[in-house]
Symmetry: C2
Amino acid sequence: MRVLILGGDGYLGWPTAMNLSVHGHEVAVCDNYLRRRLCREQDSEALFEPPNLHQRARRWAEVSGHEVAVRIGDLCDWAFIDALFAEFQPEAVVHYAEQPSAPYSMKDRHTATVTFQNNLMATFNVIQAMKAHVPDAHLVKLGTMGEYGTPNIDIEEGFLEIEHKGRTGKFLFPRAAGSLYHTTKVLDTDLLWFYVRMWGLTVTDLMQGPVYGLETDENEGHPDLYPFLNYDEIFGTVLNRFVVQAVAGYPLTVYGKGGQTRGYLNIRDTLQCIRLAIESPAPKGELRIFNQFTETFSVNQLAEIVRASGERLGLDVEVKSLPNPRKEMEEHYYNPTHTGLMELGLEPNLLTDAVIDRLMRAVMEHRDAIDHDRIFRGVKW
Amino acid sequence: MRVLILGGDGYLGWPTAMNLSVHGHEVAVCDNYLRRRLCREQDSEALFEPPNLHQRARRWAEVSGHEVAVRIGDLCDWAFIDALFAEFQPEAVVHYAEQPSAPYSMKDRHTATVTFQNNLMATFNVIQAMKAHVPDAHLVKLGTMGEYGTPNIDIEEGFLEIEHKGRTGKFLFPRAAGSLYHTTKVLDTDLLWFYVRMWGLTVTDLMQGPVYGLETDENEGHPDLYPFLNYDEIFGTVLNRFVVQAVAGYPLTVYGKGGQTRGYLNIRDTLQCIRLAIESPAPKGELRIFNQFTETFSVNQLAEIVRASGERLGLDVEVKSLPNPRKEMEEHYYNPTHTGLMELGLEPNLLTDAVIDRLMRAVMEHRDAIDHDRIFRGVKW
């Protein structure tokens, strides 16, 4: 299948490109290096700087024999995205192309504006480009479990049957996100749902939890094909951050009571989920929503997992609670469904001792590159 | 109270300015004439061209003795809105400043982009400007009943208590709008709800139905203070359009079966509602939502009301069903609550024979100005 990956330079974008190309798909990636630029601006660069997309594609072709086409440009620029879709005529589009950091989106007015404009206009233009060039293609959009927030009721997969005063209806599951970044994804879902109903677009919206990990089947043994590993407060996700903190001898930064519970998944499972969604597309003209994670942990549980791994590897890991810089519930009900991707065939890579120890060891090889000043920044909201 | 009206040149903006100034408020209006420009671009100008905002403000000062400050600029331009809020320090902000046409938003990619960018960025910048300058001010935002769509359950005022698998929660009422314009207002509500929760903004979001009418207490006898009356398919709302069609001898354009039911209100009641919302503000840090309409009609009922009025006034009014150019239900359940504004003291001006006849007579004075080519345009979605 011809697959166009938007945001192909990202933490998940490049690993997805390699994975899909190995599995027989014709892959093109597009990016404008926004994330690299924002990380530099915030002095929050990743643990190591991956080669640029053209270099990665050449290296991947040497290693695997698979070609990945590279196009550099901004999806908010209609002339660029119009030409991109006209040229590539994708059968499936994977849309990762968003500013992905909650703290960045909450830092100040400028960073909020960048997030809001980029994420909304990218999604809007993707919809318009699909309508113009490939109205029957399948859009696989990365949403987030954060769209739902932490409601007091069980979280279903995207939709909810509601009974009210003796009548019933089926609606998008109510959403109340905890950052502007997450809220842009709520707005994306609203917009996609509208154009699915109006134009019969075919969309899978994947409500993904925080991802951890570095290695995939494709990049094992090839560190120059590893994705970004951000460990800073702004662009790092919690488990990756904790691992780097443990290796650096920096106390694990638990916010408040640490009872914040989310659904997590291994980067290998992100790749499985994307491929399953592409190879078993949503029914034509429908919005299909999956909750994309494999197991739930509280922040305290993650800290304990990392501490225990450190102990096995001879590291002395301290855990420290900080006053919570975010407005969020520190103890709450959390019971999200996640059966849709399992039914498609997802075989979870759970967070075993072996998995966390291997990630810790990979990070230990970069111990000297860790900049302690990047770890805590105190972005408050 | 110091009130800043955003979109002060519009159909409702200018009448609101006059009304609030009569009732003792210190009023400033802001507009960038976007609607006038779009109407000209679409060859869809109103029945008569009102004077510009500076001229209207001077005329109003002559007539009433009340000063209304005028600022011209684009709310999507941060430098402009920043200076506007810094200068005026409003205690209440009325936000009408959006591209208001559903057909315009669905016409083509360009018009969709204008709608999406303008409406979302205006609301985003209003939120940021309030945070920066007047975090305790009250934002009165114009939403639309169209945010809800036509669900199969009773429509409550903004929020819904949901019971699911034995647990309960209170959520925004689910929404599924019928045009991109209406969808931008869904996104506005999501964004406002987020910043209310995060920053404690104080917001009243008014889910308004289609408005009809021309005269208010302030402009009676002063046609140069009348608002726009658009009668074209793109910028005209249904009852105003039907009245002009009746006067022009153009068959009333009912789309499909004509069972589409909505909640309507007189322009005089819009002014009452805005004033009630300002003078009885939402509780600090809360999002208050009211459904703003006074009575529901199907399109067939509106056509019959206009036909009967024509008969009383000696006009021969024909009603004609056209194939529906829109994707919408032509027969559906519709039972929206609207008690909040009544409890604040709203005294409805219902659509009596006298009211419709008076509107017909006002339009008859402009009969020669009606351009038949503007009435039907065939914007499909």
